[in-house]
C-alpha cells in the first residue's frame, strides 16, 4: 500500500497498538496524522498566539471559535483554506471550501450570515491563472448564492507566484444567542449520527490513496476532487438550525478533512471517550470498502451526537428536510475506537493516540537570498507622480474589485449596511430591528510576508485592525491563516515560523486575541517553489450603532482632509516600488502597534463625536491612492499639498505620496469641526495634519510648492480604477 506515513510513524503506530495495524487502522492513522488534521508541524508554534480575552467564549480547539460581541450575543467565525483543491478544480475546489467553513459555523449551532473570500491569485493575463481565477470566483459565487449566505467582504491580490497554485482562503460568520450556543459534552451512551450526503469515493485521502486496491479504475485521481452540492448544504443548514432550536442535539462536528475518522477520533479524545462504530449502517452513494468509508472526505456531511432519548425527534427533523442520515454507533467510556463491518472488528485503536500524534520538530532557517530582498532600496529614479498614480490605480491589487463582487449576492438577508467597495470593512446588522451590528474584514499582503514574514504578518493584523476601526467598529477578535510552503524544507518553514510570530506579537500588542485559525502548508508550484507565503487575517468588530458607520467616499465639497498618523520614507516592498519600478524588494514598512492603538482610539473618538464624514485607512499605494479612492468613490474633488504631510525623514515627493507607513488614516471633517478634531488630536497626543480640502471641481489635485504636480479629472481616474481588472479578465 502507498502511504505518506513515515517509517518512524509506522513504528510508532505498531507501538501504540502493540501489533501490526490492519489496513483500515493504517488508513485512519494516515488521515488523522496528516498535517492537515493533526497540525503536527505547526502546533508547537501556534501555542505562541494569544487566544484569551474576556469576550472569548470558545477558543481554538473546536471546529470554530465563539466570541461574545454584545452581552448575550455571540459571533462564531472561522477561516479555512482550499488552496490545493482549487488548483486542480477551481470551481468545485473553491465552492467546497465555502461549504466546509459554513459547516464549521453550524457545529456551534449558529446561523451563517456572511461569507468572506481572501483570494491570492495569479497574473490575470496568464491563461492558466485566468482560468483558475474565473473558476474560483464562480465557484464561490454559485455556492454562496445557492445556500443564501451573502459574500460581503474579502481581499484580492494578483501575483504570478500564484499562477498555478492560488490561495483560496474563505471565512464564514455566524450569529447565535449565547444561551443557544451548542456547547455540551458528549457522554458515554450518546448516539453518533452521520447526516448529509451519502458517502462516496470522492476525497479519499487525496492522491496518496489512489492506488489499485482502492479504486475501480487505477490511475484516476478522483481522490483530490469533490463536487460541490449547495442544495444539500442548504437543507443541512436549515435542519441543524431547527435541531439546535429544539435543543435535541448535544454536539456537532463537521466531517471535513480526515472524514469520519477525524470526527470520531477528535471528539472521543477531547472528551476522554471511546466509540463503537458500525460501518454497515453508513448511507453510501456507491459500494465502498470499510477503509474507504473511514477516510472518505465526501462533502456536505456532519456528525451529530444525540442523547438516545432524542434520537426519534432528530431523525424526524432530518427527515422533514430530506437530509439522509445514518445511526453509526455510540460513544462509550473505553477510550478506544472500535470499528465493525459485517460483524467483524476491522479497527481497534486508542482515541487519544490516534487523535494527537507527537509534535514533529521542523528545522527553520532563513533563505540565503533574504539579504538581498530586505536590503534598503536606494537611488530609484524619480517618475512623474501623475504617471505613478495612474499606474497604481490600474494595478489589479488596487483597482476596483467590482468584477469579483458583482458576481456575488452581497445583499441577501438584508443585513448588509455597507456595500462592497465602499467601506474598509463590511458592516452587518444583527437583525432588521437592531441598530447594533458587526464589522468584518479579511486582509493580507503576500509581498510583505514574502520579503519579511514577521513584519508582513504583523502588518496584516494591523491593517485588519485599522479596517475595522475605519468603519466605526471596535475590534473584538481575529482568526488567522498562515499559508506557507513545505514544512519539511527549513527555508520554507522559516516563513511559517516568522509569520506566526508576527501575528502573535501584533495581536498581543493590540490586545485583540487570535481565537482560531487554520494552517496551510505545501503551497508550492510543480517545481517545488513556494508561492508567496501569506498570512491572512480575518477580524470582527462590534458596531454599537450602524447608523454611525463610516464609509470611505468623500461626502461633500469644502471639507478638511485630515491625515491621521505619521508618514515615514517607507518605500520598500510597496505597491509603488513593485508596479512603477518593477522591484519587489526593500524593508517592509515597520509595524507600529503603539501608534496603531493611539491613532485608532482617536479615530474612534471622531466617530463617536460625529466629527468624521468619511474615513479610509492608508495602505497599499500609500496616501495618494487612499485620497484618490475617496475622491473617485465620492465623486468629490480634492486638493492637497505635500508640504502639509507630516513626513519625518522624507526627502522626495514619492516618499510622501506612496509610502506605506502603518497606522495611518485619512479622515474627511467638515470645516466647522476641524478645531474640535485638532484639539482632540492634541489631547490624545496623535499626529494629525490638515493636508487639503475637498473641492467643487471634479479634479484630483496634488500640489508641491503651490505647483500642481497632479491634476487629473475624476472621471478619468475612475475609468482607470474601474476598468482595468474587468478588461484583464474579460
Amino acid at each position: 500500500m502507498i502511504t505518506v506515513l513515515t517509517t518512524e510513524e509506522i513504528n510508532e503506530i505498531r507501538k501504540v497498538l502493540g501489533r501490526e495495524p490492519t489496513a483500515e487502522e493504517l488508513a485512519m492513522f494516515e488521515a488523522q496524522w496528516s498535517e492537515h488534521c493533526s497540525y503536527k508541524s505547526s502546533r508547537r508554534l501556534l501555542k505562541l498566539l494569544p487566544t484569551k480575552g474576556k469576550n472569548v467564549l470558545i477558543g481554538p480547539g473546536r471546529d470554530a471559535p465563539a466570541v461574545e460581541v454584545f452581552p448575550g450575543i455571540a459571533v462564531i467565525f472561522k477561516i479555512e483554506s482550499h488552496n490545493h483543491p482549487s488548483a486542480v478544480d477551481p470551481y468545485n475546489g473553491a465552492a467546497t471550501g465555502i461549504g466546509g467553513v459554513v459547516r464549521d459555523i453550524l457545529t456551534l449551532g449558529a446561523k451563517p450570515i456572511a461569507l468572506l473570500d481572501m483570494l491570492y491569485l495569479g497574473d490575470p493575463s496568464d491563461r492558466r491563472a485566468q482560468w483558475l481565477i474565473k473558476g474560483i470566483v464562480r465557484g464561490i459565487s454559485d455556492y454562496g448564492n445557492r445556500i443564501g449566505v451573502p459574500t460581503v467582504a474579502g481581499d484580492t491580490w494578483f501575483d504570478s507566484s500564484f499562477n498555478t497554485q492560488p490561495l483560496v482562503n474563505v471565512a464564514c460568520v455566524g450569529l447565535i444567542r449565547v444561551e443557544d450556543l451548542l456547547n455540551s459534552k458528549p457522554i458515554p451512551g450518546d448516539v453518533i449520527l452521520v447526516a448529509g450526503n451519502p458517502t462516496g469515493r470522492d476525497g479519499l485521502l487525496g492522491s496518496s490513496f489512489a492506488s489499485k486496491s482502492l479504486s475501480d479504475e487505477p490511475g484516476r485521481d478522483i481522490g483530490a476532487v469533490q463536487v460541490a452540492d449547495p442544495l444539500m448544504e442548504k437543507v443541512l443548514i436549515d435542519s441543524i438550525v431547527e435541531l439546535v432550536q429544539k435543543r435535541v442535539v448535544k454536539f456537532i462536528k463537521d466531517l471535513g478533512g480526515g472524514g469520519l475518522t477525524t470526527a470520531v477520533a477528535e471528539t472521543a479524545a477531547d472528551f476522554g471517550l471511546g466509540a463503537e462504530i458500525f460501518l454497515d449502517n453508513l448511507h453510501l452513494r456507491a459500494e465502498l470498502t470499510p477503509l474507504e468509508m473511514l477516510v472518505s472526505e465526501s462533502q456536505e456531511r456532519m456528525m451529530l451526537v444525540v442523547d438516545k432519548q432524542h434520537l426519534g425527534k432528530v431523525l424526524e427533523v432530518l427527515g422533514k428536510y430530506d437530509v439522509p442520515s445514518s445511526v453509526l454507533g455510540s460513544f462509550d467510556s473505553s477510550g478506544r475506537i472500535k470499528v465493525y463491518f459485517r460483524g467483524k472488528l476491522v479497527a481497534d485503536v486508542p482515541a487519544r493516540e490516534l487523535a494527537r500524534p507527537r509534535d514533529v520538530y521542523r528545522v527553520s532557517r532563513p533563505p540565503k537570498e533574504l539579504v538581498e530582498l530586505v536590503s534598503p532600496v536606494s537611488s530609484i529614479p524619480l517618475v512623474p507622480v501623475s504617471k505613478a498614480l495612474r499606474v497604481l490605480l490600474s494595478s489589479p491589487n488596487i483597482a476596483s474589485k467590482k468584477w469579483i463582487y458583482e458576481q456575488y449576492d452581497y445583499e441577501v438577508g438584508v443585513r448588509t449596511v455597507v456595500k462592497p467597495g465602499y467601506g474598509d470593512a463590511a458592516v452587518l446588522r444583527l437583525d432588521a430591528e437592531d441598530v447594533r451590528g458587526i464589522a468584518v474584514k479579511g486582509d493580507a499582503n503576500p509581498r510583505y510576508t514574502s520579503i519579511d514574514p514577521f513584519r508582513g504578518a504583523a502588518n496584516s493584523v494591523a491593517e485588519c485592525y485599522r479596517n475595522l476601526v475605519s468603519v466605526g467598529s471596535t475590534p473584538v477578535a481575529f482568526v488567522d491563516e498562515p499559508n506557507a510552503g513545505n514544512p519539511e524544507r527549513p527555508e520554507h518553514f522559516w516563513y511559517f515560523e516568522m509569520m506566526v510570530k508576527g501575528v502573535a506579537w501584533m495581536a498581543e500588542e493590540l490586545g485583540v486575541p487570535i481565537v482560531g485559525g487554520k494552517v496551510s502548508f505545501y503551497n508550492e508550484d510543480s517545481r517545488g517553489r513556494q508561492v508567496k507565503p501569506t498570512a491572512t487575517i480575518v477580524g470582527i468588530g462590534a458596531v454599537e450603532d450602524v447608523r454611525r458607520v463610516k464609509t470611505l467616499d468623500f461626502k461633500q465639497e469644502g471639507s478638511a482632509v485630515l491625515l491621521v498618523g505619521e508618514t515615514f520614507p517607507e518605500i520598500g516592498s510597496t505597491e509603488y516600488l513593485a508596479r512603477v519600478h518593477g522591484l519587489e524588494v526593500g524593508e517592509v514598512p515597520i509595524p507600529r502597534p503603539n501608534q496603531e492603538l493611539r491613532n485608532a482610539s482617536y479615530v474612534s473618538k471622531l466617530v463617536e463625536n460625529d466629527v468624521a464624514l468619511s474615513i479610509h485607512d492608508v495602505s497599499l499605494g500609500g496616501l495618494a491612492v487612499a485620497l484618490a479612492e475617496m475622491a473617485i468613490l465620492g465623486d468629490v474633488g480634492v486638493d492637497v499639498s505635500v508640504e502639509k504631510v507630516v513626513c519625518r525623514g522624507c526627502t522626495r515627493i514619492d516618499e510622501v505620496l506612496f509610502s506605506e507607513s502603518q497606522a495611518r488614516y485619512v479622515v474627511e471633517v467638515p470645516q466647522e469641526r476641524v478645531e474640535v478634531a485638532l484639539n482632540l488630536a492634541e489631547a490624545l497626543g496623535v499626529r494629525v495634519s490638515v493636508v487639503g480640502r475637498t473641492t467643487s471641481k471634479k479634479l484630483f489635485v496634488v500640489r508641491a510648492n503651490q505647483q500642481a504636480v497632479v491634476e487629473e479629472s475624476l472621471d478619468e481616474l475612475r475609468d482607470i480604477y474601474e476598468r482595468n481588472l474587468s478588461e484583464l479578465l474579460e
Binding site: 478544480d89 470551481y91 462516496g200 469515493r201 485521481d221 483530490a224 456507491a286
Partner: protein, 85 residues
C-alpha cells in the same frame, strides 16, 4: 472539404458526484413514479458546424479546441465528441 456537425458533450467523470443530476433524479423522476429510470447524468452539449477534409479531421480539430481553450477540466470531466456529416 465538407461541413460536419460536431457534437461535444461534457459531463462529470463516472464515479464523481453529479449533484444536479441526483436532485433531478430523486426529486423529479422518482417522485413522479418513473421507477424504471435507474440512473441519470447531466452534461453540457456544444454543437459546432466545422469545415474539414473529413470527419476524423473535424473531430480532432474540435478536440484540440476543447483542450486548448479549456472548454472542460480534464481532471473532473469526460468529453465525448461525435461527428455527423
Amino acid at each position: 472539404m465538407g461541413l460536419y456537425r460536431v457534437v461535444v458533450v461534457v459531463s462529470y467523470k463516472k464515479g464523481l458526484k453529479d449533484p444536479e443530476a441526483e436532485t433531478i433524479y430523486r426529486d423529479l423522476i422518482l417522485k413522479h413514479g418513473y421507477r424504471a429510470v435507474k440512473e441519470l447524468r447531466i452534461g453540457k452539449q456544444f454543437t459546432l458546424l466545422v469545415e474539414a477534409e473529413d470527419s476524423e479531421k473535424a473531430s480532432s480539430y474540435v478536440r484540440e479546441l476543447c483542450d486548448k481553450l479549456m472548454i472542460y477540466n480534464p481532471v473532473i470531466h469526460d468529453i465525448e465528441v461525435t461527428v455527423y456529416s
